[in-house]
């Protein structure tokens, strides 16, 4: 039997440093066969966990990116209308009659699989990532309920399709809109926060093995101080990684060494004009000085 520590170790071997809460939630979602709902600010690694999990499990990653106006025909299935039409024409030329054609054109061969249907028809359980569910409309959330609780999809012409294997479902949300309680109740929930100092250093060390420990410490201290500033868009983990890569690329060994290089590398952390203005040169230098 695998324990949650095993999962944590597996994930970190694949380059994803998961906090205890997250590792436990992933473990429970796997052990109980329930979907996992991850909430948190942008850039804390919600999407990445699905990718890493599919790597660890050797499973296929099926991704459904949600957007406003996403509907069943794009997420679940659609009939291949053109193919059906050609089949009807071909059949009528061959002199075939009604019921036979009807049965054939509403069969599996004329069905266009979309991510959700594909996910429940895989022989080996895939990782199904439903990204940014809060962007989809509420109707779509309702579609999801049947799939997430029963692992089945009902197609009027074909009947109910049950899951061949239960996919590992991961939903992510940025909180642009409140999700329904019905959806929340069906999921294992965890809130992914910005990582603490030690975790973020571990993440950085895992992604940039060449960087020396002292610089990693400085970078993390710098970014974490920056998150406490009054910014429109706080830098996430992805930004920290970019920042580290930028510093390495610029040949910086110490944050306080080269003010110009630090200022240049800030473009990877501050993504709006307002934030750029909020952290002028002197402030950046002061934070770097404290971090060193």
């Amino acid at each position: 039997m695998t324990t949650w520590r095993d999962i944590q170790a597996d994930l970190s071997a694949a380059g994803y440093v998961a906090g205890d809460d997250l590792a436990m939630a992933v473990h429970l979602a796997l052990a109980l066969g329930r979907p996992l709902l991850l909430e948190g600010a942008a850039g804390v690694g919600k999407t990445q966990i699905a990718r890493t999990l599919s790597q660890v499990k050797g499973a296929e990653l099926i991704r459904l990116q949600c957007y406003e106006g996403l509907d069943a025909s794009h997420a679940i299935y659609e009939w291949n209308y053109q193919k059906q039409l050609l089949a009807i024409r071909a059949a009528s030329e061959a002199g075939e009659s009604g019921p036979g054609i009807e049965e054939r054109i509403f069969s599996d061969r004329y069905l266009l699989e979309r991510p959700l249907l594909r996910a429940i028809r895989q022989p080996k359980p895939p990782v199904l990532l439903i990204d940014e569910i809060d962007r989809a409309d509420e109707e779509f959330e309702a579609y999801l309920l049947e799939i997430l609780s029963e692992y089945q999809i009902t197609i009027p012409e074909l009947g109910t399709i049950r899951a061949v294997s239960k996919p590992i479902v991961i939903l992510t949300s940025n909180g642009t809109r409140d999700l329904s309680d019905a959806l929340r109740r069906r999921c294992i929930y965890t809130y992914v926060d910005y990582p603490d100092r030690a975790t973020e250093m571990a993440i950085l060390a895992a992604h940039h093995p060449g960087v020396e420990g002292r610089l990693i410490g400085q970078i993390v201290a710098f970014v974490q101080t920056l998150r406490k500033e009054d910014l429109e868009k706080k830098p996430g983990v992805a930004e920290t990684l970019d920042f580290a890569a930028a510093l390495v690329g610029l040949g910086v060994n110490d944050l306080t060494d080269d003010p110009a290089a630090l200022q240049a590398a800030l473009v990877t952390l501050l993504k709006t004009q307002g934030d750029r203005a909020a952290i002028p040169f002197q402030v950046a230098q002061r934070i770097a000085g404290k971090a060193a």
Binding site: M24, A25, L28, L32, Y189
Partner: protein, 393 residues
């Protein structure tokens, strides 16, 4: 490493882990978490997959099952410690979320504390229920009071947020207009027979490509002009929160402040942090709170902005008390000029809500003939009452 759990006193009748867990679930419910019977089952199943003797693990596992939003997630550790680590059945009542409050404010609908608890904890449950209902009534009446309070006295962030929410609803009521005609669209409810037939000629009469039609949105654009002169300063903050709400509903809404000059504040109001935006602007507004030149400002608006921003699909909302230092003819003339652009003009006057108010101020009287709607705006109630009238415009 295993930490030995502090010994927990269990209810006398609780025999096994199932009872204890059920009682813990009842404890969570009493503290406002939404957990159902099904969750108890899930939690029991979860305990079999972890080391159930390690309190840290159990806490994390139960947290991921029982918490279902950020607030619950943040306070679960305390609730867990309070129950299992013998700090008594503490209620962490203050941390109730907005949603809980709403729910307990609608009597009869609350999920209550009807858990399958044991004898020992029945008292706690009763407390819980009484508290919830009590608080519900309190809040309901508070809300009613607030809705009738003159907006001058509305200052707390909560009230601001509510002003904002009402504005958001109003903006949607005005904005959601759909055309009666259908236009070709990628996805729509109706088939476009004409186009299908025309396209089918290319495929030998076979309708291979399906074209569709949908009713396009014809959103109404809002333009707001807020008077922040001396006589209106008391209303400036709630009205700014109101404007902020109007802005939120739609990306094309436009807003202006005026006193002796006209200032465009659209960009400032779109600040991510709602309260910060309103605070910043109310400072700005206070700084100028002097005389009013409504006529002059409308003239400037017509000259500078109206020609590119106001069209037949616009609704211009003026929030002002109508006390003008410019000659009244100017207001009349400028409103008539604005009206020629085909827009509709609403005038929301906080004084109109006062008993015995007559629009005798010369400016107001001159403006009246050009208005599509002249309404009171001195309480949140009066603002909310606008919704059906705006939708009917």
């Amino acid at each position: 490493m295993r930490v030995h759990p502090p010994v927990t006193r269990f209810p006398a009748r609780a025999s096994g882990p199932v009872d204890r867990l059920a009682d813990f679930m009842a404890h969570l419910r009493a503290n406002g978490l939404q957990v159902g019977v099904q969750d108890t089952g899930t939690a029991l199943a979860a305990l079999t997959t972890i080391d159930a003797l390690d309190p840290d693990q159990v806490c994390m596992a139960l947290k991921s099952i029982c918490a279902s939003n950020r607030d619950d997630f943040a306070r679960f550790d305390d609730l867990f410690a309070a129950y299992w680590q013998n700090r008594g059945h503490e209620r962490v009542g203050q941390a109730q979320t907005a949603k809980d409050r709403q729910r307990s404010a609608t009597p009869g609908q609350g999920d209550g504390a009807t858990g399958s608890g044991t004898a020992d904890s029945v008292d706690t449950h009763r407390d819980g229920e009484a508290d919830q209902q009590g608080e519900g009534r309190l809040i309901a009446s508070r809300v009613r009071n607030l809705m009738r309070t003159d907006l001058r006295d509305v200052v707390s962030p909560d009230d601001m947020a509510q002003a904002s929410a009402i504005a958001d609803r109003l903006a949607r009521a005005i904005r959601d207009r759909r055309s009666r005609r259908r236009k070709a669209a990628k996805r729509g409810e109706a088939l476009d027979m004409r186009r299908i037939l025309r396209a089918s000629l290319a495929t030998g009469g076979e309708p291979v490509r399906l074209h569709r039609r949908a009713r396009p949105d014809r959103p109404t654009k809002l333009v707001c002009l807020l008077d922040v002169s001396g006589s209106m300063t008391a209303y400036a903050r709630p009205f700014l929160a109101f404007l902020r709400g109007l802005m939120g509903a739609d990306g094309a809404t436009d807003a202006y402040l005026f006193h002796t000059r006209l200032v465009r504040i659209t960009d400032a109001l779109r600040d991510d942090d709602a309260l910060r935006a309103v605070n910043r602007l109310s400072l700005l507004a206070q700084g100028f709170g002097g005389g009013t030149r409504i006529g002059g400002n409308l003239h400037q608006f017509n000259d500078q902005y109206a020609r590119c921003l106001v069209s037949g699909r616009s609704v211009v909302i003026i929030l002002s008390d109508g006390f003008d230092t410019d000659p009244p003819e100017v207001i009349g003339a400028e409103l008539a000029r604005l009206k020629k652009r085909g827009c509709r003009i609403l005038w929301l006057n906080p004084l109109k809500g006062w008993r015995g108010y007559q629009p005798v101020a010369a400016g107001m009287a001159a403006a009246l003939p050009h208005l599509d709607l002249f309404a009171a705006a001195n309480t949140l109630d009066s603002l909310a009452a606008l919704e059906p009238r705006l939708a009917a415009l």
